[in-house]
Symmetry: C2
Subunit: 539 residues, 2 copies
C-alpha cells in the first residue's frame, strides 16, 4: 500500500546530510597526478611552498643595480649580471652592475635604475635623481614564503594555483578522485530520448541529468539504466548496481506504487537511514545502506532530482567545508513565500543593473525542467519564510547570462534580434522591472501597467475562440485580468494556441482571428540605454 | 637592439581582440555528441524543442480526474487511467476517473482531486468542497512549447539543459570543440618544476598555467615546451609548432633580448598584427599570423600571462557574445588607481557581509603569481581611473572561498584553526574591515587603529636586529609606521625573518629576540559573530 509521509516524520535537509555522513562516511579515492591534470579537481592535502618566491631577490626591469645611497651620482660600471647567473661579489660603494629583468640582485645593491633613466658611457653610469631604496626589486619571499600554504585540503585547484605550484617547483599533486556511481531510473511511462514517443509517455530526463552532473563533478557513471515499475526488476537492478559501483542513485518515476517499490526494495536489501525530507521539491527522498554502500532514492519529478542532488547527495559526497555553492546577494524584485512546513527552493531569473543584482522568483511547478533550466539560480528558503519585494536575499547562482534581456509580453509580430535573452513571460515582472530599474527592453501591457515614456507601442484586439474548457493566462500576463474564470492558465499566447481545438481560448488577434471580441490592450515597448538594436522589427 | 614600445603606439585591449578576429577569425571545430558528453561545452547551434513539454496534460498527484463544475458532489468512478495509458473516452459529466501522478488527463476533465481529499466507496467518489479548475494538472506545453528555444548558439551547456534536452527527446547535439594549441616558453633562467633549482634560476610556471587553463576550456595542448633564449631555437620552435597545431602561444622569459627574439621570429615567419597593448600587466604582447595560423607572444611575468590570456587570447578564441566572464558588483573597501595610460587589472580579495560583497585591492606586482592565485578576482580599470573607498565596482570573480576569514596582522603565537582562510597581510585592511563591517576575525595593531571592543589582546616588543639593508614592512603592516626609511618592504614578520643575516631587520620579540628595542605594539583580536571557534590558541 501507499506509504504516506507525514510532516512530523520528515527531517531537515541539513540533518539528513549529517545523518548520512555519520552513518556512512564517503571515502573518495586519492591519486597523484601531474599538476596539469589537477585542473578543476580538489586537493587531497594541504600543500605548502617548499621554497621562497621569488627564490632570490631579483630585478624587475632591465637596468643597473645600485646602492640607493650612492645616487644622485656617477657610478663605475663593474660588468653585467646575466639572467640565470649567480652573483659572485658584493657590489662595492660607488659602483653599479648591469642587470636584466629577472637577474639576481647582487649583495650590497638595494635598488635598480631602469636603462632608460641613466646616462651611460662605456665605463660610467650617471643617475641624476635620487632613488628610493627597494626600487624595481622583487625581494626574496615577497610573493610567497617557504612553508606558506598554496592549497588547503579540499580546495578546488584553479589554473592560477597550478601556476603557483609550478613556480614553487611542484610538478605532481595528490587529488581527490570521483566515485563509480550507478544511475537507475524507474517508470512505465518513460521512453529514452532519441526514440519515438508513444501517447501518454514522456522522455526520461532524470537519468541523463544525473549522468551529466556526475560527470561534470568528476565521477564515473554507470548507466543511466531504465527499469520498469516492477518490484522484482527494481530490486534486482539496485542489488546488481550495488555490486558494481560505490554509490547508487535511483530516481522514482511518478506513480504512487513505484515510490513504494524503491523504498520496499531498499528495506529488503539493507537498512533505510532516512525517508522523507522537509524539502520542496523533493519530499519523498530516501537513503539506505545496502551491503555497506550508500543508495539514494530520489523523487521522479525533474526539479526534485536537480534540487535533491544539489542539496543532499552532492553535499553528502563532498562532506566538508568546500561544498558551498556560489551564492551572491541580490534584491528580491517580487514577494516570495516558502512552504509553511518545508525548506523551499525557488528558481529565479537574475537581472543586473548598475549596482545591484535583482532576482525574480519564477512561477514554477516541480515537473518544469525546461523552466528550471532557463533560470539563473535559486533561493533556498526555510519553512514559513515570507519575503517582500526589496528584501536582500542570498541566491545560489547557477549561471550568468551576459546577453541583454527582453522582458515582458509575448507578441510574435515584434521581431527580436537573436543576440538577446528573451524572457517573454508576461507584464508583471516587466512592470516591476520598469519601476525598480532593471531589464534592457521591456514590453508591458496597458492592462497591467503604463510606462511614463516608451519607444514604441501597438494595440491588439483580444478574442475568445472555440468552446469548452476555458484557457486563460497566469497572473503575469496582461490578458489574465480578463480571464478570472479560466480553467487552464498558460504562460503565453503560443501555449494558448495549442488548445485552440480543445477549449475556449483567449488570444490576441495577431495570433488568431477569433470569434468573440473581449477588448483590447496596448503593448508598450520601453527600450533602455542603447538596446535599440535588439528590436529588429521596430522602426 | 631592444625595441621600446611607446605609449602612443599601444592599442586598447578591445581593439586588439577585434583586430585579431577581423584579420583571422577562429574556426572552432564542431562535433555531434551524446548529450551527456556535451556537459560544459558550448552549443554549436540554436536548439528548439521538437515537442511540447509536457507532451500532454498530466495529473501532478495521485487522485481522481474530475470536471470541476461537478463538485462539491458525489461522482461515479468509471475506472482507472494508468500511467503511460492513452485516454480512450471523454469524461462524462457526473463521473470521475482514478489517475496516478503523471497519468494523462482524460478529455473533459479539468482538475484532479488528491486521493486523501475524497471519501471513496467501491463505486463512488465524494468531493465535499469546491475545486478550482486546473487544480493539480500540468497542462500540455506549460513548461515548454514546441519550437521554443532550449539552447542558443554558443551557450554553455549545463546539466539542467541536458535534462531539458532529454525531456524534449533529444539524445545527441552539435557542440563546439577545442583547438590544438601549442605552448612554448622561453628563457635561460627557467627550470621545469620537479627538478632541482640552481642558483639565480626560477621554475617555469607560465607554460603550466596555459596548459591547465587551455585544458579546462576544452582545448588539446601540445607542450609546454621550454626553449632557451636563442633566436634560432625560438624561430624553429614556433615554425614547427605552427605546423603541428591550430594556435601557438609563446611566453617570453623576462630578459630584454628574448622579447625581441620572439617578435623578430614572428616578423620573419609571418606578419605581425599588433605589438604592444595599453594593458597592465601585459604591455609587450604580440600577435602574428604565420602560414595562416594565429600566434600570440605573451610577456614572461606570470600575472601578465594570466591576464593577457584571459582578456585577449580567450576573448579571441570565443569571439562572440558568450565570452563574458562572471562579474559581480561589489563595494570597494579601499581606494584604487589605474595606470594613467593603460587599462589596469588589479587583483582583489572579496569579503561577504550580510548584504554586500566588499573587495580589497591587493598590494601587487606582476611577478607575484602566488599572491594572484590567492586573490578572489580582479578589477578591470580604464586608464586613469581613480576610485575612492565605498565606490561600487564590477569585479571579475574567479572563485568564492566559503571559509570564515581571519584578516590582519601575522602573529605566530596565535593559533588559528585549519578551517579558516588566513589573510595575514597586515592591519590596514583589517582596520577598514572593522569600520565597514566585514571579516570574521580581525587582528589589528595599535599602531594603525584601535577597536572599540575586542575579545583578546597581546602586546609584543619590536626590535631591530642585524646590520645592513633596512628591512621593514609594506604600509598594510602596523610596524611599517616605525620603519619609514626601510630599503626592503616585506609583507609579514615571517618574510622579514628570511633577511635576518642579510640586513637590519625589524621584528617582533615573538619572532626573534633582537638587539635594539624600538617600541611596542598591542594586537587586538576582534571576533565577529560566532567565529570564536576558529581561534584555537586563545582562551
Amino acid at each position: 500500500m501507499r506509504k504516506v509521509l507525514r510532516d512530523e516524520q520528515l527531517i531537515d535537509p541539513t540533518e539528513a546530510v549529517q545523518l548520512a555522513i555519520s552513518r556512512l562516511p564517503v571515502k573518495l579515492p586519492v591519486s597523484e597526478v601531474s599538476i596539469i591534470d589537477a585542473i578543476g579537481k580538489r586537493s587531497a592535502e594541504e600543500v605548502e611552498s617548499p621554497i621562497d618566491l621569488p627564490p632570490f631577490s631579483r630585478s624587475t626591469v632591465d637596468g643597473y643595480a645600485i646602492r640607493s645611497s650612492d645616487v644622485p651620482g656617477k657610478l663605475r660600471l663593474m660588468g653585467k649580471l646575466n639572467i640565470g647567473e649567480e652573483p659572485s661579489v658584493t657590489l662595492p660603494p660607488g659602483q653599479c652592475i648591469e642587470v636584466d629583468t629577472g637577474s639576481a640582485l647582487p649583495p650590497g645593491a638595494d635598488a635598480v635604475v631602469k636603462v632608460e633613466d641613466v646616462r651611460k658611457t662605456s665605463e660610467f653610469v650617471e643617475v641624476t635623481s635620487s632613488v628610493s631604496p627597494g626600487l624595481n626589486v622583487a625581494w626574496m619571499g615577497s610573493d610567497l614564503v617557504q612553508g606558506e600554504p598554496i592549497l588547503s585540503q579540499g580546495e578546488q585547484i584553479t589554473s592560477e594555483k597550478i601556476a603557483t605550484l609550478a613556480a614553487a617547483g611542484i610538478s605532481t599533486i595528490k587529488v581527490v578522485e570521483g566515485l563509480k556511481v550507478a544511475v537507475i531510473t524507474t517508470g512505465n511511462e518513460l521512453v529514452p530520448p532519441g526514440s519515438p514517443l508513444p501517447p501518454a509517455h514522456v522522455y526520461e530526463s532524470n537519468g541523463w541529468y544525473l549522468a551529466a552532473r556526475l560527470k561534470e563533478l568528476g565521477h564515473e557513471v554507470l548507466g543511466p539504466t531504465m527499469v520498469r515499475d516492477n518490484y522484482e526488476e527494481i530490486l534486482n537492478a539496485i542489488s546488481e548496481a550495488v555490486d558494481r559501483s560505490d554509490l547508487v542513485l535511483v530516481t522514482g518515476g511518478t506513480s504512487a506504487g513505484e515510490r513504494d517499490y524503491v523504498h520496499a526494495a531498499l528495506s529488503s536489501l539493507g537498512e533505510v537511514v532516512f525517508h522523507g525530507l522537509r524539502f520542496k521539491p523533493g519530499k519523498p527522498t530516501v537513503m539506505a545502506i545496502v551491503r555497506g554502500k550508500p543508495v539514494f532514492g530520489l523523487p521522479g519529478n525533474p526539479a526534485s532530482t536537480v534540487m535533491v542532488f544539489d542539496r543532499i547527495v552532492n553535499k553528502y559526497l563532498s562532506q566538508g567545508g568546500w561544498d558551498e555553492p556560489l551564492t551572491i546577494t541580490a534584491v528580491l524584485a517580487a514577494p516570495v513565500m516558502a512552504d509553511p512546513r518545508r525548506f523551499t527552493y525557488v528558481p529565479v531569473y537574475a537581472f543586473r543593473s548598475t549596482s545591484t543584482t535583482f532576482v525574480y522568483p519564477i512561477i514554477f511547478d516541480s515537473h518544469m525542467i525546461g523552466t528550471l533550466s532557463s533560470s539563473d539560480g535559486y533561493l533556498a528558503l526555510p519553512p514559513g519564510t515570507r519575503l517582500e519585494a526589496g528584501s536582500v536575499v542570498e541566491v545560489r547562482l547557477l549561471k550568468v547570462d551576459p546577453r541583454p534581456v527582453v522582458l515582458g509580453e509575448e507578441e510574435r509580430s515584434l521581431s527580436l534580434s537573436n543576440n538577446v535573452r528573451k524572457l517573454l513571460v508576461g507584464s508583471r515582472p516587466a512592470c516591476d522591472a520598469l519601476r525598480m530599474g532593471f531589464g534592457d527592453v521591456l514590453i508591458v501591457s496597458s492592462l497591467l501597467c503604463q510606462p511614463d515614456s516608451y519607444q514604441y507601442s501597438m494595440t491588439r484586439t483580444l478574442f475568445w475562440s472555440g468552446r469548452g474548457v476555458e484557457v486563460g493566462y497566469v497572473d503575469w500576463v496582461g490578458m489574465s485580468s480578463l480571464t478570472k474564470t479560466a480553467h487552464v492558465k498558460v504562460k503565453s499566447p503560443s501555449i494558448a494556441l495549442k488548445f485552440l481545438n480543445r477549449g475556449r481560448v483567449l488570444l490576441p488577434s495577431t495570433y488568431h482571428a477569433g470569434e468573440e471580441e473581449v477588448g483590447e490592450e496596448t503593448l508598450y515597448v520601453v527600450v533602455r540605454n542603447n538596446s535599440r538594436k535588439f528590436l529588429e522589427g521596430i522602426k
